[in-house]
Amino acid sequence: MLKVENLTKQFKSGDYTVDAVDKISFYLPTGVFAAILGKSGSGKSTLLSLLGALDKPTEGNIQVNLQEISKMKDSQLIKYRRDKIGFIFQSYNLIPNLTALENVCLPMEFAGVKKIARMKRAVELLDQVGITLDKQDRIPSRLSGGEQQRVAIARALANKPALILADEPTGNLDSKTAKIIIDLLKNLAKSKKTTIIAVTHDKEVAKQAKIVLELKDGKLVK
């Protein structure tokens, strides 16, 4: 479960202080697929990086499975990101000179999983997201966009995270592939009991979500 209270993030630009995220509070139970909707500049990406501990909030609390992350030290935040969070990006952000399999192994290596164990799990995960064995040894540039995003999803799942944060996961995909990816995320939320939050401006994606949060000027409007 995810509990957000009074979350605020301010940026200074010159003499002005911009509230990119302004006193947001919400609650998500475990295993739901949620969407954050909003126009560009509405603060969705900032909210996502706060949830993923990529950035520190100016004020407010974030609780993931009763763990308070806004008070963590830097070294704890690295562990939190590694063990509790999975990231999926619009442009996939796979390491270009590593194979699909090696990319999925990466978070497990950082977590100290033994080589044989992480290889085994990576093969399983790639299989689950539909990357067949013959494609697992390819580097990202030899995979299609949809396939790359599947690899990214497998990588996000590697350390069994409590929360998967997806930033415009279908933004670079055609509508047919986008639907497949969204279905995949929806099913994973259910089967892996993982909370998935997808930032999007695609109404079709939002329709699939169980909970939709809409942001406007850093404030939650729905």
Binding site: S45, S49, I78, R81, Q90, N93, I95, P96, F110, A111
Partner: protein
């Protein structure tokens, strides 16, 4: 292991860049290696020259050089005073005397007077009208008799070696009428071991015949110092004292002490003075090598530093992703260090090969450029012999000899290539890699993972 694997894999991500970086780095490492080799080689040469010159100081009477000048000769008391100075490990006393072929001895000189000898004799005897009348037809050169307290001190005898070709050495402390005869003089006068000749109206026995390798000394006689002092009526007098110092580092101290004790009565020339002239050009090469070595290592570090900064900036986003998925700064920095280490290692392997191939040619160029002055100086100093047993000139000649020797040995200087050099090369590579990684590592630690969330 994953970190090193990725670091190595990343090193080959851009093959054109990898090849060019490796090559430029190899040049700077080769340069560093060559300079290191030349530094070592030159240093060992300097040590060799210093030890071959020896730890000696020549003390001569002030104002007197051989048979020229004026003043008082040294005495046995002077010798005793010097031998008591700290760090003096031994002294060799010599006295020279000239045997006139007409009056003092029955021997005939093996040296032809020539125009130089004649001119010398004329100027010496210009007040002696009788002698002048006899010249030049009936004139023969005087013979030099040297009395020494130590036959092993070749420096004191102004020769580089003393080969006894027949017979034996004499006891230097005796006052017997015995002598070693130079090879040329023996041939000229048909002398062999056990023959006798006359000097100062005494019969002197030949105990041995020597070859010193130079015509001037081979025309002379060596005798125990006391014998010469007594026979030539120079009792208690000494022409020069060779002081042996315990180590080369104490030479200047001992020289100062001698000056303090004996003041203006003596002139001193130390082997250090001669060495300094010889080694000054070597010292120059050493300095050039040292600066080039430092320069090459700095250049290598700067190359790898700029490369790594470029690479880190290029992969800024990737570093952000690694941080987002849970990599610590340390892990990312290690990955980049392993990448830069591999680049430097490849550069150093190539650099070591280049270094081995070019060390000798480059050393030659360095030496040819900076020793031309030394060798020409050696020619001048080592050339003319001079008339008379001139103890004072011997330092001049000695210096010349060493300069000449050093000049020769410099031409034959070979880089001391041993396989420890590979270790030094690799050591330099690792230092370069680490220096080159410090700033990039700092950049890495400052990259905020949130940057990747920005719209692509």
């Amino acid at each position: 292991m994953g970190i090193i694997y990725r670091g190595f894999k990343n090193a080959f991500r851009n093959s054109i860049r990898t090849v060019s970086i490796t090559f430029i780095l190899a040049l700077s490492i080769a340069m560093a290696l060559i300079m290191f080799l030349s530094l070592k080689t030159v240093q060992s040469k300097i040590d060799e020259v210093k030890s071959s010159v020896g730890n000696t100081i020549t003390v001569s009477p002030a104002g007197i050089r051989g048979f020229e000048g004026g003043g008082e000769l040294l005495t046995n008391t002077t010798a005793t005073t010097i031998s008591k100075i700290e760090n003096v490990s031994g002294i060799t006393k010599t006295i020279s005397a000239r045997l006139s072929a007409d009056t003092d001895t029955n021997l005939e000189s093996s040296v032809e007077a020539g125009s130089f000898g004649r001119r010398q004799m004329e100027s010496e005897n210009q007040n002696n009208s009788q002698m002048n009348e006899n010249m030049p037809e009936n004139f023969s050169m005087p013979i030099n008799a040297t009395g020494t307290s130590n036959l092993d001190s070749t420096t004191s005898l102004n020769i580089s070696e003393l080969n006894i070709i027949s017979g034996t050495k004499f006891d230097e402390s005796s006052s017997k009428y015995v002598a070693l005869i130079g090879k040329n003089l023996a041939e000229k006068n048909d002398l062999a071991v056990s023959s006798t000749f006359t000097a100062w109206d005494k019969s002197i026995k030949v105990v041995g015949i020597f070859d010193s390798g130079n015509n001037f000394s081979n025309a002379g006689i060596l005798m125990p110092i006391k014998t010469v002092q007594v026979l030539s009526d120079q009792e208690n007098e000494i022409n020069s004292i060779i002081v042996e110092v315990s180590s080369i580092d104490n030479i200047s101290n001992v020289e100062t002490a001698i000056k303090e004790k004996l003041g203006d009565d003596v002139d001193t020339v130390s082997s250090q003075d001669a060495t300094e002239q010889t080694t000054s050009s070597l010292e120059n090469i050493k300095t050039i090598s040292l600066y080039s070595l430092i320069g090459a290592v700095i250049a290598g570090s700067v190359i790898i530093l700029l490369t790594m900064i470029m690479i880190v900036r290029e992969r800024r986003r990737e570093i952000g992703v690694l941080k987002a998925i849970g990599a610590s700064n340390l892990k990312i920095v290690s990955q980049f260090i392993s990448e830069s280490t591999l680049l430097t290692l490849m550069g150093s392997v190539l650099g070591i090969i280049l270094g081995f191939a070019f060390s000798n040619p480059i050393l030659k160029v360095l030496i040819n450029n900076s020793t031309s002055s030394t060798t020409s100086g050696a020619g001048q100093a080592g050339g003319p012999g001079g008339l008379g047993g001139e103890g004072g000139r011997q330092m001049m000649r000695m210096a010349g000899e060493f300069l000449g020797r050093a000049g020769d040995s410099l031409q034959n200087l070979q880089a001391v290539v041993d396989y420890k050099i590979i270790l030094y090369g690799l050591g330099a590579a690792i230092i370069i890699a680490i220096i080159g990684s410090i700033i990039p590592s700092f950049i890495i630690s400052k990259i905020r993972p949130a940057e990747i969330m920005r719209t692509e």
